[in-house]
Amino acid sequence: MLKFTPKRRLTGGVRLPANKTESTGKSIRRGLIPPRLIVSTRQQRGPAAKPIVEIGQGVLRGETIARAEKSDGTDVHAPTSGKIIAIENYESPLLSKVALELCIVIETDGADLAIQKRGPIEFAATREDRIRQIASAGIVGLGGAAYSTAEKMRGEPQIDCKLLIINGAECEPYISCDDMLMRESPEQILDGAAILQQLVGAPECIIAIERDKPQAIDAITLAADKLDLDGLRIAELPSIYPSGGERQLVEVLAGVEVPSEKYPSDFGFLCQNVGTAYAVHRFFRDGEPLSSRVVTVTGAAVAEPRNVEAMIGTPIADLIDACGGYSREAARLIHGGSMMGFELSEDSLAVTKATNCVVAAAPDEVKSENREWPCIRCGECSMVCPARLQPQDLVIAARESNAQALTELALSECIECGCCDVVCPSHIPLTQEFRKAKPLVQSLEELQAFSDASDQRFRLHEERRQDATIAAERQRDHIKRALSHEERRAEEIRAAVQRARQRKSETDGS
């Protein structure tokens, strides 16, 4: 397999204790069927799907239980066989927060019967239909951001995709689900990548993996040599957080900086997580829609940390039980990794397609104190910022709600990676302040847009009014001219009549 040398070094970033080896000692645990599944109808950024099943109805594995109504939604499938026992609102973790979502509750029967024995699925004829196939297979980005894969592949129609990036960097502490999947199913991942590459017509594909995953790198390299894939290369990245961020990967691999108001697809790049590539393989080769994912269950409060292939809708408590339960009281339960993950207040919440990791942390492994010292302007935050922002200045503007300054300092480029927080000797909750302040910048931008639009409207109105005035004047001139013309003619006629009369009287008189 050919190696790809990254074009650039990551801007900023920090080296963090990985805390990954705890969960990579054992293979992925498969075949866990919890008694109840709470499947949210919203499994991706964008609209929820609409349930198409009724309470009391039996379902089989792979059966569509909720259908996307819009093109940016995705279908939701039953992860196993069982009976629908409720369709109601539950708290569900997705998109960096917990929100109430309509969920379909399935009582499982343990038989795990599939809807039908399906083999490979034919590619649809047109590109748009093929993309629709992916949405109907419920495939979303499994890196944690849960962006609809179909929506992402649509991209900008007039821009050709020149590079497919398969993201196996997995830079965030604690998370090891991609690492384990690459170790155990490298051929399936590469096959899925090849399908994606074919679907978007990308001439090149790079799979990016951080160097702290030598076993994954070996497995992928072996599999690539075996499959003999063209145009596939591997990029080994230094282990620096957040090099696995989408924009960061594009920066490092292609040397292109994608600003916040644009997408990598605007520059001809498509990034997909290794888990997503695996899901694409499962759908097109085995006919299995995406209804389960690998979740890392770890943290010092978990008895036997490991990765579990969890059905979507599995309550987190069942996942932790499958890993030997709690070994001590967890100080904090985190959905995601320790940098961008968010705290859950209870373990009854169910796995969504965004759940890449669950950390049950002991008190000594997480930030616990809220004490803050004054900023000493050490600038460490700006040194590690992957967006080259000045957090020490931004935080002042954020606390003063100074939207103007926040805009000037480009707050909207903040990717909320948390690097500034962990290096701050004053322990200022910078990322939290920035997240809170972002609506200010947005509202300023909206205000600006509104004012621009009003300005535009007024100008158009003025122009129209002026045009109308000019037209009216012209009309008047025209009428005037027309009138004067008629008057002149009447005059001429009168004069002619006069002359005729004169001539007549002259002749009569003579």
Binding site: A99, I376, R377, S382, Q390, P425, H427
Partner: protein
Amino acid sequence: MAAERADQNVMAPPHSSPKPAVPVIMRRVLYALAPAAICQTWFFGYGLIINFVFCALAAMLAEAAVLKLRNRPIRDTLTDGSALLTGALLAFAIPPLTPWWVPATGGVCAIVLAKQLYGGLGKNLFNPAMVGYAILLLSFPVEMTQWMPPRMGDIDFTHLGFLSQLGYSVSGILPAELSLDAMTRATPLDLVKEGLRSAQTFSEVRANSLFGDFGGRGWEWVGNFLILGGLYLLYAGIIRWHIPVAVLAGLLIPSALLHLFDADGFASPGFNLFSGATLLGAFFIATDPVSAAATVLGRLIYGVGIGFLTFAIRTWGGYPDGIAFAVLLMNAAVPLIDRYTRPRVFGHD
């Protein structure tokens, strides 16, 4: 549908433990100064320790008083170690044979005028220790120049014991048989300044027994320990390399060029490196984050500025050393430097 839950009971990300807090950093900088302090005490007497106590005590009392006036929590601020560090840095710059009110005035001025009047830690424009030093140097020029010769076998030196040093600090009375004039001696920087001004060559000035391989004897050793402390700060990630390297480059490059051009008329770069407050300034004073530039390019400009201004003041100015004034001048330029060296934001033109 998406009703976001109130999050008063959950911690916001990131959850990873942060780096050591401000008090730990201040404490580590104090540790880094300790070897040089012991060395300076060995070569120049107990004055440093006594001055440090008066400086720090006055600084902390003054800080507590201002905090009380400002209705701010006193304990949290006093325990952050910043006033203690200011006291320590200032004590290094005060001659050993000084009455107690000199370090005390310095400590009070540093904390009240340079720090608390601006709003406390993190808000000050100027380096507090250097403001304190500048005020002392301008107000008490005699007391601030009474340096002593180093404890060296072949040099005629008289150092006081701890108790008589303390007694002198408190009462201003020397033991009966001693006089200040007999005990104090011009510093190598003074000798070079005076010598070059009175048409001596640099090598003639250096023939004095107070001079060692590069700078003044004793001072060279203190310098070595300051370098050691600075390397520890770099290793511990408390400072970055940009400012010390830039300060030294800004001082040593012009010094080396002019010394090459005219070895008699200009002091050698080695002398500049190991004299006065060069190493203390490069590693411990210019690197004060609050009053230094925050961007990478800004730090290089700031450091070079300090180095070059120090060189200019030492070579052509009215004072033998220039670190304090150079730092204060560049402090004033920091807001401008930071504004114009802001790096290009990711994805922006």
